[in-house]
Symmetry: C2
Subunit: 478 residues, 2 copies
Amino acid sequence: MTDEKLTPQNENFSEWYNQIVQRAELADYAPVRGCMVIRPYGWALWENVREALDSRFKASGHVNAAFPLLIPKSFLEKEKEHVEGFSPELAVVTIGGNAELEEPLVIRPTSETIIGHMYAKWIKSYRDLPVLINQWANVVRWEMRTRLFLRTLEFFWQEGHTAHETEEEARKETLSILDQYADFAIKEAAVPVIKGRKSNAEKFAGAVMSTTIEAMMGDTRALQSGTSHFLGQNFAEAFDIQYLDRNNVLQYAWTTSWGVSTRFIGAIIMTHGDDQGLVLPPRLAPIQVAIIPIYRTDEEKEAVLPVVEKVRQELSQFRIKVDDREGVTPGFKFNDWEMRGVPLRVEIGPKDVQKDSVAIARRDIPGREGKSFISQENLAGTIQDTLETIQRALLEKATAFRDANIHDPKDYAELSEVVKNGWAFSWWCGNAACETKIKEDTKATTRCIPFEGQPGGEGKCIVCGKKASEKAYFARAY
Amino acid sequence: MTDEKLTPQNENFSEWYNQIVQRAELADYAPVRGCMVIRPYGWALWENVREALDSRFKASGHVNAAFPLLIPKSFLEKEKEHVEGFSPELAVVTIGGNAELEEPLVIRPTSETIIGHMYAKWIKSYRDLPVLINQWANVVRWEMRTRLFLRTLEFFWQEGHTAHETEEEARKETLSILDQYADFAIKEAAVPVIKGRKSNAEKFAGAVMSTTIEAMMGDTRALQSGTSHFLGQNFAEAFDIQYLDRNNVLQYAWTTSWGVSTRFIGAIIMTHGDDQGLVLPPRLAPIQVAIIPIYRTDEEKEAVLPVVEKVRQELSQFRIKVDDREGVTPGFKFNDWEMRGVPLRVEIGPKDVQKDSVAIARRDIPGREGKSFISQENLAGTIQDTLETIQRALLEKATAFRDANIHDPKDYAELSEVVKNGWAFSWWCGNAACETKIKEDTKATTRCIPFEGQPGGEGKCIVCGKKASEKAYFARAY
């Protein structure tokens, strides 16, 4: 923690981001280029993300397992698109136990191949299906340009890998997981996301169809926040995942894969943060309430501390932190917890002791307006209500911001303008050439073809003017 | 699941172990030599181990974080003993993004070095101490002879790394963690462990003192089940972890590290398992109660299933599984859940429906003796009591077995005999030569010099006959 001001968002959003990640002690740079250390505060946030997702997966019948970090290099070559997509990004182990390996091993960039290999061994009959396995793991992709949380050589994620009897079932799983992701993002993280499918150019290497949840960051750039892929029979064929069907005929299974990563921490930071620092949604915040005793004299201290203790006990259902540090001013503490994005601050001073009240300050509403004095009576209830109000307010604010920055440009020239500082929602013919032209001219990419909010009917492609049956989002992205 | 019988323990314990790990679907072999896949049932067991340890760490003020998988090779060379210990076991990444790396990176075999590097950056003053961080991570050690869970190239563990102001505090932390490990092993896993310190030959590479919890497996061999190391200032000096003390003088910090790994799953299997399969302690079992409906006719089925459903709801506080598979006999189901070590089986048949009863069968007492009929009234209470009884019985049985197989040989010849099928608890002068002689003659190693149960006074070293002030355990070990 330093007293230095953060670079304001509108001055340099990217610099603001880098500063906040380090000053709020979410993460730090590791000695290896592009790697990060996730510090305890950042990891506690990730643990809450993990728990919120994991409980959804388990409630829908998925189980966790652990597959190996090291994959024979030859495995990647079994699926043509997959190896093309991932081979530039591999970290390769060539030496083990002081000896050169006969076959180099890659550190998993994703686990379709090794899991496919195991599924081929485990799955014999339709009775063994569906297989619904997830793993929480670290993966490595040798990225050239890295940013803490957003793009790092090593990152943490969950990757689900399922195998099904029919195409329909696998497609249903793909979309059902996307719904879980959206539900998590909206309800837990207060990050409004748009569900849709990726264009062919943007889809996962080896997938038949990729779906995504896309979020708008505070600088209007898009962040792909989770993806769910329908893999068809591509990996089943490459790894020989076959089962005897109900008619005793050998069939290839239908598979899916899906993931949310520590990148999502970046989404939380850049959706809600402001010039004072982080703003965390109450449902995921490692500390929901910071309690700060306020006193100047020993006499005041003696009056205040017992009330602080009483309040601490009364609020034990929340994730709280009593900041009883000596030798730093209340003002310093206020700034500190603001920087760390704690949703609610409770201040208890001598006047509050007299009046049976406490002062509360909402992190999402800076200054006087977010402050109020409430009774100590039914404190837990009031705090609960206030946290829920904050959670709702964050989602509303982020949704309003997003909607205000989505444009419907009337022509290509206008599209080129709006994507400088927002998203375009435009008719697209589906042709890769049009997509490429937008990318080359404006750096905006096809974020997704949304499942909801399609006007229906037909329109004209914003690029080539030809017939188009769907609209897509175009935006610059992280 | 296969109908084939397990190899009996007394015929070939090692073969029994390999079979059970795979047949109970705890783990499977990965395509890379020495690596494993932890299957959902095994991972659920590990998740329960993790939760039991993690809650203890958090309650004692520790926090979790995540440090990088990849470590510059040069880091390992900074601590002399450390590099000697670990360099034969390293997996080395030499290629990243299709290019040869300037400096090779090793996959962490343990994280003292990289964490030391970060601590040096974060710790400035005594006010920053203690730092009490743990991480749940995967590590890689290039082992030559591997066994599922017991010794694999990649394994999962928690590694705690703490830094302190004083030697006393760091030593206290080392022992306090060892107490937590023992508490976990005994209370949660029903694995009676002996706490002690390692001999110099057996200590962690780079530690001043290593402490351990040692358990006896069903074949009387020892398994080191968790270790906690006092590192002195060795790593602080190697990585320059310095702080300004209360007198404004620069000092090296005192550090500790400690870990429990997926090896502990092996300890659970080999402490409690029998010729029918796994036996899991109720507090850690992924499934505590298997409920099996029993019927032959449709009429019976109609009578039984509603009661099964009622019981399922009544037992929702437990981790239960209703085995409603069609087309397999109850006998098959009994064997299946026995193989998987589910502590308690509940059978519900037509007679039970009439009598308002259920049949329960304890996994830890095979056959008739472990079976009883209990009322459906207050079922949850009875099940709770029975699970607690099983938990206690497992610990008692394992403790009795261990104590029956610890010997106090009168001379070296007798020691050589007893360690063939048990442990020796003998006076030892502390000299490495005596320890080496035992190892060379008998394959038994010094397991630990226990903290408790020392007779006091003096004795004669079991090997050389010279003065000895402590007794040590000697045993063949995994």
